[in-house]
Structures are given as structure tokens and as C-alpha cells.
């Protein structure tokens, strides 16, 4: 039986007869594997980016949202325009007897407003929260201070501004103590936030943060909340906290049928799972598209192998005359196909790694996203395995054809 090393040597010899032809054929596989690798890696990076954002909130955070749970991407309107979460709900949630396992309860309101200082203006996202918000979002103060319970209680017109807001309104001047005009009122700047990489949900660089009480009254003019975040005292107590919240809110809103809830509850885990599902589906879809290019590459391999078998008919005849069995010939041509696809696969994995690196670098530098670089080991393994499978799938037919050739007819082939 022929040795493996000889089979490999023959395969190398075989594909180097027509070097440029082999390179072009390999290119088809390279493009396919590169795009699959890139899609899979970017998909994982995007997922990590979003999940990382969600994990800013600890796993014991429970989000109460107004309206119905959205049933699909087009069903978001119900949550935005809903005013079901009122001040009374917030007050009742704070009562220890209602939700004993709740540690902190932070109401949020948000909207857009134009901020102005002297001749400068800036359209900012205005977020109203409580004194616990700083810890809740893990915010870093660069200068000044965050607002406290007294500011919230007194509906003080004080703001903490994001880095970008500070730059736009104040340039290099110290903003602390200055008064910013928001809507009809003037708000005193008491603190600035450290610059941070852009997350997926809230860009705090472009945000103005103030006590929810004054935001409700002086900027947005609303008496309801856009969110209420309840922090359970431990991860284990999250389910019972949710149960207590639901009971309380249904009671407050006179709801006896849970299907008619005018609020819904999300945990960090729910959101993370949903995002994983979405990115998962997207990755699969995009990978399928990329896989088509790989099939085209495979067809290219088969085409070239069929041409090669025909061109080398006399060689096949001669090898058989000298003692090559059908299996020897089949192996020889199959190894050539495999060598082509494996070279393509390895270059494709390297190309995919490089492309992913470039894409995530571009996302960081040009889009300012906190885009992590993920080397998808799964993607790399997958790329190599798929290349092998493509080699077998598209190489076996030409190889079998070669193996079955009759020695005499092949020797006399013109």
C-alpha cells in the first residue's frame, strides 16, 4: 500500500503543475472562509458589546417598563407612549412591607431637550434619576459631584453633564457652578462625567443627568416614569421580588387578568437572552449568505479537478499500468482537492482573523464604539472543518472518475 507521505508529495506535485490555476481555485475557498470567519467573529463581538452594556447593571436589577411586552420589533410604540407607571407606584414600591426584598428603587425619566449656555447650544438626551443612579449605571464623576437625596427631594435644578456636552457648551472653561438653560428653566452644573466609550443604549457623553423630580416638572412636564429599576437584595431573591412587584402594580392599577397588564418586567438575563437570540439569528443568516460563496468555491474545485482528471488521463493509465490500484488513483486526486481546500481554509481563517481585526479597529476608531475584538476559535475550527468537508464533497466525484478509468483506454487517450 502506498505511503501517506507519498500521497501528500504527489498531491503537492499535482497542484503545482498549473500554479496560477490552483491559486485562483484556492481563492474561491479563501473568500468563502474569510467571509464566514468575519461574520461569525463580528457577530460575537457585537453580542459581547451589547451584553457588556447590559451587564453594567448587576444581575439583581429588575426593570419595570410601562405598556405591554413588545411582541416583535414593530411593536415598540406601546412602551414609549405609555404613562402607566405613576408616582404612587414608586412610593408604594419603596414601602418595605410591599416588596421586602427590594434594596434600591430608582425611577427614570428621559427625553430630549436643547441645552444652551451663552451662545452655545447642544441637543442632549436628558435623563432624570435618583441619587442611586450613579451607582446603578456605574458612572464616574470627573469633576464636581453627583446630585444627592436632598437635591431629588427639593426638586433642585442641578445637572451633571456628559463629556461631549461639556466640550460643546463650555469648551475648555470650567462648567461647575455655571447655569445651563434647559427648556424654560436654568439649571446649575454641579458635576461632569468622565468620558466613556460609547455603549449601545445610552451615550452618557451626550447626556445631561438631573434629579427625576426636576426633570419631570421643569423639562419634560410629565407625571409618569419611563422606567423603574428595582434592585433586589440578592440574585436569589429576584424571582420573589418580581412576584411582589407584579402583585403590587396589578393591585395599584386594578388589574385582575395578567394578560391585561399595562407594565412588564425584564431582568438583565431576559434582555441578554433576547439579544443573544437576535444576534444568533443574524449571525446564522449572514453566515448562510457567506456559505453560498463557499459552495461556489467548491464548485470551482470540482470543475478544476474534472479538467485535471481529463488532462491527465494518460498519466492515470500509466500509473495503473505500473501497479496503481483504483483506490491509489482516487486517493491521489482526492488529496489534491483536499490540499486545495485546506490551503484555502487556512488562508481564509487568517484572512478572516485579519478582517475582523480591521473591522473592530475601525469600529473603535471611527465609530467610537467599545467594540471588542473577538477571535472566534469556533469560527476558525469551523472554517478548517468546512474546508475539509468541501474538499471531500467536491473532490470525491472527480477522484472516483479518475479511479475508475480503464488503464488501456487511458494510456491511448489523445
Amino acid at each position: 500500500m502506498i505511503r501517506l507521505s507519498d500521497s501528500l508529495r504527489m498531491a503537492v506535485g499535482g497542484i503545482s503543475i498549473h500554479k496560477s490555476r490552483s491559486i485562483l481555485t484556492v481563492l474561491g475557498i479563501v473568500v468563502g472562509i474569510t467571509s464566514i470567519m468575519a461574520v461569525m467573529s463580528v457577530g460575537q463581538s457585537a453580542e459581547q458589546l451589547v451584553i457588556g452594556e447590559i451587564q453594567r447593571f448587576g444581575p439583581s436589577n429588575i426593570f419595570i417598563l410601562p405598556g405591554r411586552q413588545p411582541q416583535g420589533p414593530m411593536d415598540a410604540a406601546g412602551t414609549i407612549l405609555n404613562d402607566s407607571l405613576k408616582e404612587k407606584d414608586f412610593q408604594d414600591l419603596q414601602k418595605k412591607s410591599n416588596v421586602p426584598s427590594a434594596k434600591n428603587i430608582i425611577p427614570y425619566v428621559f427625553g430630549y431637550a436643547t441645552a444652551s449656555f451663552e451662545s452655545e447650544t447642544y441637543d442632549a438626551m436628558v435623563i432624570g434619576g435618583s441619587e442611586y443612579m450613579k451607582k446603578n449605571f456605574d458612572l464616574t464623576i470627573q469633576s464636581g459631584r453627583f446630585f444627592d437625596a436632598v437635591d431629588v427631594e427639593q426638586k433642585e435644578r442641578v445637572v451633571v453633564i456628559g463629556n461631549k456636552v461639556r466640550e460643546e457648551l463650555f469648551g475648555n472653561n470650567n462648567p461647575i457652578g455655571e447655569k445651563v438653560k434647559l427648556k424654560d428653566g436654568k439649571f446649575r452644573v454641579i458635576g461632569t462625567l468622565a468620558s466613556e466609550g460609547q455603549g449601545s443604549f445610552v451615550d452618557f457623553n451626550k447626556a445631561i443627568i438631573a434629579p427625576y423630580t426636576s426633570v419631570q416638572q421643569d423639562i419634560l412636564g410629565q407625571h409618569y416614569f419611563n422606567r423603574i429599576v428595582v434592585e433586589a437584595d440578592s440574585v436569589e431573591s429576584v424571582p420573589e421580588t418580581i412576584r411582589d412587584i407584579k402583585t403590587l402594580l396589578r393591585n395599584n392599577h386594578n388589574i385582575d387578568n395578567p394578560d391585561k397588564d399595562d407594565f412588564f418586567i425584564q431582568t438583565q438575563e431576559d434582555i441578554a437572552n433576547r439579544i443573544k437570540t437576535i444576534t444568533g439569528i443574524l449571525t446564522v443568516l449572514l453566515t448562510s449568505v457567506a456559505a453560498i460563496s463557499l459552495i461556489v468555491g467548491g464548485i470551482g474545485i470540482m470543475n478544476i479537478m474534472l479538467v485535471s482528471v481529463t488532462e491527465r488521463t494518460r498519466e492515470i493509465g500509466l500509473r495503473k499500468a505500473l501497479g496503481a490500484t483504483n483506490k491509489n488513483i482516487l486517493t491521489q486526486f482526492l488529496f489534491e482537492a483536499l490540499l486545495l481546500t485546506m490551503i484555502g481554509g487556512i488562508i481564509g481563517v487568517m484572512g478572516g482573523t485579519l478582517l475582523t481585526g480591521i473591522l473592530s479597529y475601525a469600529a473603535r476608531v471611527f465609530a467610537g464604539l467599545n467594540f471588542p475584538y473577538v477571535f472566534s476559535i469556533g469560527g476558525a475550527m469551523w472554517g478548517i472543518i468546512v474546508s475539509f468537508a468541501i474538499g471531500i464533497a467536491f473532490g470525491i466525484f472527480p477522484a472516483r472518475k479518475a479511479g475508475k478509468r480503464n488503464p488501456i483506454e487511458s494510456l491511448h487517450y489523445e
Partner: protein, 239 residues
């Protein structure tokens, strides 16, 4: 000792629904150590007969015994092994692999026996020396002259130390000088005890052997013993 025996061997080709009888009613015996020439005009079936005797093709009818064992009982793989180990071929068109070196071409049959490279190169070197091509050992065979190519082919045919060598018009593509060298080699090998079957349409080639089978229209018409063999090394080769 008997090496080859056939009984009423017949080969029919069907090519695009046209039946062609290449040879029929061939019953012959070849002993070890013989130098047999199969002679006939082109189209007489002599090449096809050689291919069947060389296990490159199967007969349509009749019986073929090699070393006393009947062909019919062998599978395709077994035939490949027999071709590899017991038979050497020399073709009119040389049939070397042009992108391989002289050494690699000669060593090729040993590769299909699974012999490691070092060992097969050693064996191939010996045979390249025998045919006098030491200085061409690393040349690609496409760079060689016709006569040199045929000497490479002879070295390759010998590399597995076969029981029999089949040569199909071995001098057909060569000038008289190169043809003489090749024929002289075959004669020398025969003197050393190798069994040789040469297919030719030229009687002066045929007379290098000790026995001539005349084949006309697919039948052996005459089995002639050569009384006075032409010794190529003494008489030379002339067309």
C-alpha cells in the same frame, strides 16, 4: 518452466456499437527465459494480445494462466499488484511522467509497493546506472532524447525485478542508433534470464529474439523458432 499459457484466448471490442475482434483462438505457451517476438502488420491484434497478456485488459473468452493461476480469479486490485510486482512494460511512446525526474520515474513502481523513499531511490539509482544515465539522474524526462527516454523506461520496467517484460514497439519512435541500444539492452536482459516479449511489425527487430509469433488478422498463423538470432551488439541495428 512454463510462465504463460493461453487456451483459445479471444478479445472482442465494442466501440460505439461496432464489434471488433482483435484476436481469437490464441493458444500459446511461453516459458521462463524466452525472448518472444510477436510480429504482424498494424491492426493485426498484436498490441491487444500483449495488453491482455500483460494484465492491462481482460480477454473476452478463453483461458489465461500466469504462473499456473487463472486470470479470471483475480480482482482488479490483484491485477494491479501483479502488474506492479511481476510485469514490466516498455511502450513505444515511452510513457514517462514529464514533470518528474529520471530518478522519480524509475522509482515510481516501487512507490506503489509502499517502499520508503530512501530505499526505492537506492534501487532506482542502480538501474539508472545499468542503463547508463547516471549523469541525467535529476533531469526531468521531458529534457531527454528519445533513446534516453526509452532507457529510462527500461530501467523503470526492471525496478521491481519482474518475471516478464512486455515491450510494445520499443524501437518504433527511435532512430536506428538509439533503437540498437534499446534492443541490445533487451537482449542483454534476456541473456541474464529475463523473459521478454516484444511486439513489433518489423522483422529485423523480431529476429533479435529466439522465437517469432506471426499474427495476421487476429490469429497466430505461425510459431517460428529463430535459427540464427541477430546479436545486436555484434551486428548493429539498421533500419
Amino acid at each position: 518452466m512454463e510462465l504463460i499459457r493461453t487456451e483459445k484466448l479471444e478479445k472482442i471490442y465494442i466501440d460505439e456499437e461496432v464489434r471488433t475482434r482483435a484476436f481469437f483462438d490464441v493458444s500459446l505457451k511461453i516459458n521462463e527465459g524466452e525472448f518472444v517476438s510477436i510480429v504482424g502488420p498494424s491492426g493485426s491484434g498484436k498490441s491487444t494480445l500483449m495488453q491482455v497478456l500483460g494484465y492491462l485488459d481482460r480477454p473476452t473468452k478463453g483461458k489465461y494462466f500466469f504462473e499456473g493461476k487463472e486470470l479470471e480469479t483475480y480482482s482488479d486490485d490483484e491485477l494491479a499488484h501483479i502488474r506492479n510486482e511481476k510485469i514490466g512494460f516498455v511502450f513505444q511512446a515511452f510513457n514517462l511522467l514529464p514533470r518528474l525526474s529520471v530518478l522519480e520515474n524509475v522509482a515510481l513502481p516501487l512507490m506503489y509497493r509502499g517502499i520508503p523513499m530512501k530505499e526505492r531511490n537506492k534501487k532506482a539509482c542502480e538501474l539508472i546506472h545499468l542503463v547508463g544515465l547516471d549523469d541525467r539522474i535529476d533531469f526531468r524526462t521531458s529534457k531527454l532524447s528519445g533513446g534516453q527516454k526509452q532507457r529510462v523506461a527500461i530501467a523503470r520496467a526492471l525496478v521491481n525485478n519482474p518475471k516478464i517484460i512486455f515491450a510494445d514497439e520499443p524501437t518504433g519512435n527511435l532512430d536506428s542508433k538509439s533503437g540498437g541500444v534499446v534492443l541490445e539492452f533487451l537482449q542483454k536482459l534476456n541473456d541474464q534470464g529475463h523473459t521478454i516479449v516484444v511486439v513489433t511489425h518489423e522483422s529485423y527487430v523480431a529476429h533479435a529474439g529466439g522465437r517469432i509469433l506471426h499474427i495476421i488478422d487476429g490469429r497466430i498463423e505461425k510459431d517460428e523458432k529463430v535459427e540464427k538470432r541477430r546479436i545486436i551488439s555484434e551486428e548493429g541495428f539498421s533500419k
